[in-house]
Each structure stands twice: as C-alpha cells, then as structure tokens.
Symmetry: C2
Subunit: 144 residues, 2 copies
DNA sequence: CGCGAAATTGAAAACGATTTTCAGAAAAAT
DNA sequence: ATTTTTCTGAAAATCGTTTTCAATTTCGCG
C-alpha cells in the first residue's frame, strides 16, 4: 500500500486530523530516503516551508514511527534518527565513526543465530539492534 | 592484574590523583557486578557515603571507561550504564523490556559473521553493539 | 614534616536533545 | 454556519549529562 494512504488511514482510525504540515513532512521525509535526525529534517523543511515548527516535525516523526512508516534509530551520537520503512526487509547498520556514513546490510545467518541465542535463554525477542562501528573504506584510506 | 592496581597505575601515568572518593566508588562499582546507571550507583553509594556527589560519581565512571575498567552501555532507556570489565571476553546482551533483566551472551559465530559483513563493505570495525530486546521467561509467563 | 602547585570535589548552573504547555488556528463533525 | 476537537508554533519545562567555580585535598619537594 501507498505510504501516504497508510498514513491517512492511521490518522483516521485514531481520530487524528490530516493537516498540510503532516503531508508536507511526510512527503519530504519519504523523498530523500536517509537516516534523518529531527533537527536535520527540520532544517531541510525550513528552506521551503519556513512556517513549520520544530515541535511539529518532532511530533510528526513520532507519529510515523507509531504507524510503521518510519523506524527510530539511535547510532550513539546523542540524537534519535528516523528512516522510512518502505515495507522492505529488516536491516542492520554499518556506521562510519569518522564521516558519519551509514550503510545497511542484512545477514540472515546472524538473524537466525540471534533466535537460537534467545531460545537458549528462554527469551522471546521483540526486536534487536545490531550496529557495527568503524571506518568506511575512504576514511580508512585517508587516515593512513 | 588487580583492578584497583590497574586504576592506580592509570591515575599515576595521567598525572591524576588518588582520592578516597575514587577508591570508594571503584570498590562499590566492582563489588556488585551489574549494569549501573550513574544515578543508580550514586544512590547506592549515598546510603553509606552521603558526602559523595553525583558529579564525582559521573566523572569517576567516565574515568573507569577511559582506563578499561568499565564499559559504557546504552540499552535505549535514555541513560548510560556502566559495567565492570574483569578482563573477560566481549559479550552482548539480552534485555527484558518488562522487568529490566539483563543477560549476557557470547556467540562467536555472530562475531565472525560481523567481520565478514564488514569486509564485504570494506569497513574496518572498531566495535559493535548487539542487543536483543524482548521478554524473559518469567515475564513472558506472567503476561499470558 | 610543611609549603605550594596542581588536581579534585560537590553544589549549582549550563547544556542539548526531547517533550510539554498553551493560546490561537485549522479541521472535521453537526 | 456553528460547534467541537485536534493541531500548530513559540516558548517553557524536562531529563540526563556535563561544566563551572570556590573551597578542599593530594602530592612532590625542600
Ligand atoms: Zn538484524
Ligand atoms: Zn537503515
Ligand atoms: Zn558481540
Ligand atoms: Zn554486560
């Protein structure tokens, strides 16, 4: 299903309202498919829509996460990030600690091993986070 | 090597001073081997040593992390946690989102797969975090 | 020992990201 | 159109963390 449709349905079923701000934020968020902090998205929006406030961006991103349009991430730089979920598979992240580059990966074998670890401890897993921090190829080259 | 010795050596080589507060905090930290937030350790210390301030606990935990006596963790509850490293192997965590129980595990196969993922993307890994969130056995039983 | 330079301490203030408040504006229901 | 409800944006509040600063403590040196 279309993301905008999905969002509108969510708003309706929760008794919330469709507003121009929410649609603008959604569009901008989906358009540039990356790992936005609230601040970053706010700044990007501000160039074209200076009237939209920070608080609205924040509240709207939370809404996206709530209705499954976005995933909240935290890469340890002290600010939450949100990325669009286009119905794709789950993925984990490689993060360059030098330049901030974020790569995504999927490793089914790791996912499977996580399950068996959880089972061995009688845990029921709801979700997990796996992040590999280090240097990307170009930062490693520059660093010598 | 003894942890206290290691700490004293670190202080000396950095031109820092050995103080009663630092030794008390270290002892308390090592004694109860768990994943302390600054607040938790501060409160625990306060019962026996009401004079020790929060800032000192905070600064001392940072020191521990610096010299390799402690590892800083973050389990997504909005506050940093520190756990003693007794020279053991690296481990990852299972976190119960209901009761806060934290279990530790090691899975060499996962570690190995992480390496190969990084290699495939030309990343050099410095460190990583893997946390599995869900319900522990007893919380799962209670929840029905 | 005691002195003095240098580091440490604790209370309070500053900080930065996030969240809430509130009065006016906008959207949906009637 | 009127009423009700939600939303918005600016500003304030919050929360964990970090810094400031004057008073205290440590420690090398005479
Ligand atoms: Zn995964
Ligand atoms: Zn991603
Ligand atoms: Zn690991
Ligand atoms: Zn641990």
């Amino acid at each position: 299903m279309d993301q905008v449709q999905l969002f509108n349905d969510y708003l309706r079923c929760k008794g919330l309202k469709t507003t121009s701000q929410r649609l603008i934020i959604l569009e901008t968020f989906l358009d540039s498919d990356c790992h936005f902090s609230t601040e970053e998205l706010y700044l990007k929006l501000r160039t074209e829509y200076p009237k939209i406030g920070y608080a609205t961006v924040h509240r709207t991103l939370k809404l996206f996460a709530e209705c499954g349009i976005a995933a909240e991430r935290n890469f340890g730089d002290g600010q939450a990030r949100y990325e669009p979920i286009h119905g794709e598979e789950h993925h984990d992240h490689l993060v360059c600690t030098e330049c901030g580059l974020i790569l995504e990966f999927e490793e089914p074998q790791i996912e499977k091993l996580q399950e068996s670890v959880a089972a061995a401890h009688n845990f029921t897993i709801d979700n997990h986070r796996l992040e590999l921090y280090g240097l990307c190829a170009s930062c490693a080259a520059t660093a010598n």
